[in-house]
């Protein structure tokens, strides 16, 4: 557990920032929360709208079991209390993107109660600086439609495709104390959601957006008045909002003013927040239990299935990679930060263990190093992601197996990998066709060593006079003469022998 030392230096001394996040995460489902209309992104306007979503008179909502299930699984993944009995309420407000005139939500009896998420502040050293952030609740609710203001001079266009799509609202406690903590919390939450499969986490498509609650106080004093900046859609923007909103509040307070409890908007282009200047009564939501829906009553079998279907979660996976596979803390954290990366790595491990007839632990280090340096390096260069990598886990494992059994050296493996990327060929064939097998033929290597030493008589003298760093030069020259195909260990031994 780490205490944050993030402080804002004001004219009157140091200020501490207090942050809570409300994250809206779109539940992964085929159909909407209360209707059978599709949820897919990017459809023609108003084509994924049922008469329920359009709030035609007499239409009745029927909840989608999968949406409830995904919210419960998410709750279990953050060690939260699951409420077997919960209820839907109407949150009343008038806006053009909300045909019902109310949002069906859960104010009084949410599906998921208190839980927690552990965040890491130093990625390179993930065990050294962790902090537990409390979760207040998760409830399910309907998303609203989408408004477009730039298509017509005097009209706004309304697309109800998103109207009625299931959201989880995940409310944290005001436990964060710095922009870095807020960023780490959102990243970790996204990782967990993607592991669980309850939300795709695509922030650029609006699948996850955060309302950022910020207040400032002198360290040790009571909480100050907070503002809420709405719909922030990236980790970087959340951190920027915290930073700017906190220093704005400090300026207001130090100028003798008061922070107004209000809703604000973030403008990424100007990197500032500004007041939405909503009417005072805009937040008079007049909640009441939705009379169209009975309470949600979950049975033990349903909860048991939710629990059984949870995958290994990021924290457990990271600790297993460190303890059982012997990976460094940094590698374990990097490989488990995203569900897709971990899945790819585990396929590579399984295949490597199978080909080499070894345990996964025995092939883990080489596999991790290759994935994080060679493969990631290549993908970065090609502008590709792991998903569309030209080389798959199986092909990667074949290449690593050739290094492990001494068929090729690490240097040659890099060349072979380049050829694989270019041609889509597989390592064993490339090595055969190009004659890249490593040789441990001492006769050939001895001849090469003798030639190198004879051509560099001056350096041999310097070496013998004590300039030991030249040893690497002889190795390099010999490897070059052998076109990289000499077994490096044999080369080392033979040079040592020749120079002694």
């Amino acid at each position: 557990m780490t205490e944050s030392t993030y402080r804002i230096q004001g004219a009157t001394g140091e200020w501490e920032v207090v942050i809570g996040l409300e994250v809206h995460a779109q539940v992964t489902s085929q159909a909407k929360l209360f209707s059978g209309a599709a949820t897919a992104f990017g459809a023609e306007p108003n084509t994924q709208v049922s008469l329920v979503d359009a709030a035609m008179p007499g239409m009745l909502p029927v909840p989608n079991r999968e949406c409830i299930r995904q919210a419960v699984r998410t709750g279990m993944a953050i060690d939260a209390q699951i409420n077997k009995w919960s209820r839907f309420d109407r949150k009343n407000y008038f806006y053009a993107d909300l045909p019902q005139g109310y949002q069906i939500s859960q104010l009084y009896h949410p599906l998921v109660g208190e839980g927690q998420i552990e965040i890491t502040l130093d990625e390179k050293n993930p065990d050294s600086s962790t902090k537990v952030i409390g979760i207040e609740r998760i409830h399910v609710e309907q998303d609203a439609g989408k408004l477009m203001h730039d298509q017509h001079p005097t009209r706004s266009y309304v697309d109800l495709n998103r109207s009625g799509v299931a959201l989880m609202e995940i409310v944290s406690k005001p436990d964060m104390r710095s922009p870095a903590e807020a960023g780490a919390y959102l990243s970790k939450l996204r990782t967990i959601l993607r592991y669980v499969g309850s939300c795709d986490g695509n922030m650029d498509q609006g699948s996850m957006r955060a309302d950022v609650n910020v207040s400032v106080r002198k360290p040790g004093e009571a909480f100050g008045t907070r503002t809420e900046t709405k719909n922030v859609n990236s980790v970087r923007f959340v951190m920027a909002v915290v930073e700017h909103e906190a220093s704005r509040q400090v300026d207001v307070l130090e100028a003798g003013g008061k922070v107004v409890q209000e809703t604000r908007l973030y403008d990424p282009d100007r990197n500032e927040t500004r007041s939405m200047r909503s009417k005072e009564d805009a937040h008079d939501y007049r909640y009441f239990p939705d009379p169209d829906l009975l309470p949600l009553d979950l049975d033990d079998a349903f909860l048991e299935e939710c629990r059984q279907s949870l995958p290994e979660l990021p924290d457990a996976k990271r600790s297993r990679y460190e303890k059982d596979l012997g990976l460094s803390a940094y590698n374990a954290a990097t490989l488990t930060a995203d569900a897709d990366t971990a899945r790819w790595f585990e396929a590579l491990l399984a295949e490597g263990a199978r080909i080499q007839k070894k345990s996964e632990g025995e092939v883990a280090k080489a596999s991790a190093n290759w994935l994080l340096s060679e493969l990631y390096g290549a993908l970065n260069r090609l502008g590709k992601s792991l998903e569309d990598s030209p080389v798959g886990p199986e092909e990667g494992a074949e290449l690593l197996a050739l290094v492990a059994d001494g068929t090729i050296s690490g240097t040659i493996a890099k060349q072979v990998f380049e050829i694989m990327l270019e041609t889509g060929g597989r390592a064993p064939q490339i090595v055969e066709e190009k004659g890249l097998r490593q040789t441990s033929d001492t006769g050939a290597i001895e001849a090469a060593v003798a030639k190198v030493l004879a051509e560099n008589g001056d350096k041999v003298e310097q070496y013998r006079a004590g300039k030991e760093a030249l040893f690497g030069f002889f190795v390099g020259q010999t490897m070059k003469a052998m076109q990289g195909k000499a077994n490096p260990q044999v080369v080392n031994e033979l040079i040592k022998k020749a120079l002694s």
Binding site: T47, N92, V158, P289, D297
Partner: protein
Amino acid sequence: MGADGSGGAMSIDLQTVKKIASLSRISVTDAEAEAMVPELNNILGWVEQLGEVDVTGVEPMTAVIPNHLRLRDDAVTDGNVRDKVLANAPQAEHGFFAVPKVIE
């Protein structure tokens, strides 16, 4: 309890009527709002007669029928009815509802 709502816990005034009308985006004239004050108080007073029943120790009821909430399977069974959805719209363009510009 009197018909004007006196004696009940709840009582609403002209201000409240106007506020509710505004939140609901229902336009009412001053005369209409004034007429509604006693009317709404009458309704509230009538409902508050329930307060005469002693419910000590009785769990609040959430529904009058002992039914379970039915859940639907996660399957796409609806949608693709844009014409029906837009049929009653005062104005629709290019497949969208077109409404007076609302921008904050």
